[in-house]
Symmetry: C2
Subunit: 319 residues, 2 copies
């Protein structure tokens, strides 16, 4: 017999709803939080929908993990320490098998980051997951989009472009075989969070964003809000090993790094005087950090072999 | 030409994103809030989906209004003062006409309650709206589901059952003509919020819930969590004038009040010593408040003419 909404919530989502400052978790009309006096609360919300953000028949464990990861990535891009989250999930039917896997993936990341699930709701509808995530920042500190300075170095964490490749393989825009798709897709769903690194970056950077819609589209937000330009050196873009392994064409590699999207890596800027500190950070957190360019006065320029490279002009948009 | 996601958000959703304690509203990866030291933050989230929570082709203004109202109703049921909210909206396509009406309904209520919209996202998908709403409570105070005491009076605000009637009319379970449906449906979408009253109720009540799934289903949450029972006198249930106007059968009227759902009225308990105070509150806020029964030691009893009335046993559940 199918479990009722209340039974499902109780069985899969109430196990971890308490923590410091959480006066009331799941089970009432609202959750209640007492925020420490010296902290600012960071709030972000993001939705993942089947066939838009992930392919049909994706392993529910991946979906659970990534639904939280995309939100946590926004917390990291401000430098916030993960605190807790709420979950709204719509399902076509009461599918216990799905929920079991979904909860496993979700709580794998939630437990790692010590983020209790403090409330939410389930509804009947197409498969759609909206998470609102909360983080804490030292009062007066945050990496913001509007604080890039001319002369700052531009860095990205990890590598760029693999999630974009997975999407192309999934849509059969390119065929490298089932194994290649599975490997790339799994990596693009189970992306490592950058939360620990991000909190330390607060000491060196005032400006960051996470790369969700593609490097070019997302850096534009920084340029617009900070009223600056930039130069990006395409030869410096950090590419995944799979690109050479699959012998991808050089232009296509650049395209995936610049416009692929779904990377959920941090892009941040920092004064050149911090170059050594950032190398130390990279080493101590075991995270690859690559300098890819510099903030300039003029508009955005993409350079290759020292020359301007005219590329596509539009980042991925949802409509 | 259709506007892009960013343009749409900018045009319809960014006009009102600032207020006291809101360090950063829309436009970065996270919103930033500084919560006053003497306040507890109340958080609730609810989703409205087309053809589940409202009929297809419903006036977008109604949808905007009600999407916020259902969340605000949860804040009221804890006694919290509305503070701000985030919005995640999925749309099948970039429909500006829809967004214009939706935003109008949404901000009608948001402006009245002084709740800025501090963040969110738009996605492509079936029409679905998830709002997460924030309220503030004096530290240590809240009406909770687990604090009903034997001997407490049970009250409800407003009237019950009209939204249930609207649903029956919409599904043609009953036919009273197009005008009757339109009238009932509009009233069930544009429900008055109980926020002001709720904040004053904190002085007299320790236990409340909002009636979203039907009186019987929701009071059960209080009984379960408070480990008590109750007696409800069906003759005391506050019914809308439409019930007699449409000459509805007596048994059907009771059924709508008890199980109809979608009322978004407050159900609260209070010590009988506060009966006069509650009358004063009702008068000063211009809200009908009706005593419908009492918290007891034994299980729930529904009484009519002093005798136990055996009714249906299951509240509406989403799956």
């Amino acid at each position: 017999m199918a479990l009722s909404e209340f039974d499902l919530i109780k069985k899969y989502f109430t196990a971890y709803d308490s923590g410091e400052g959480i006066e009331l978790g799941i089970g009432d009309d609202c959750a209640l939080l007492n925020i420490p006096q010296d902290k600012t609360l960071a709030i972000t919300t993001d939705t993942q929908i089947e066939s838009v953000h992930f392919f049909k028949d994706t392993d529910p464990e991946f979906i659970g993990y990534k639904s939280l990861l995309v939100n946590v990535s926004d917390l990291a891009s401000m430098g916030a320490k993960p605190y807790c989250f709420t979950l709204s999930i719509s399902l076509p039917n009461s599918n216990e098998e799905f929920l079991k896997g979904f909860a496993k993936g979700l709580f794998t990341l939630a437990s790692k980051l010590k983020m209790p699930l403090i409330g939410g709701n389930t509804t009947k509808g197409e498969l759609s997951i909206t998470i609102t995530a909360y983080g804490l920042l030292p009062k007066g500190k945050a990496m913001r989009r509007d604080l890039a300075k001319v002369g700052d170095d531009i860095y990205v964490t990890g590598t760029l472009g693999l999630p974009g490749l997975a999407v192309d393989l999934g849509y059969k825009n390119l065929n490298l075989g089932e194994d290649a798709f599975n490997k790339c897709y799994q990596k693009s769903m189970l992306i490592e969070d950058r939360c620990d690194l991000a909190q330390s970056l607060l000491n060196y950077s005032t400006c960051a964003i996470d790369i969700s819609d593609g490097l070019v589209g997302d850096i534009k937000h920084i340029l617009d809000r900070s009223n600056v330009g930039c130069e990006i050196d395409l030869e410096l873009l950090p590419k995944p090993v799979e690109f050479s392994e699959y012998k991808l064409d050089d232009h296509y590699q650049d395209k995936l790094c610049l416009y692929g999207g779904g990377d959920y890596e941090l892009l941040f800027t920092a004064n050149p005087s911090f170059q050594d500190d950032i190398k130390v950070l990279a080493k101590s957190f075991g995270v690859k950090i690559t300098r890819i360019g510099q903030i300039k006065n003029a508009q955005m320029k993409l350079l290759k072999h020292g020359k301007i490279c005219h590329q596509f002009s539009k980042a991925f948009e949802h409509f």
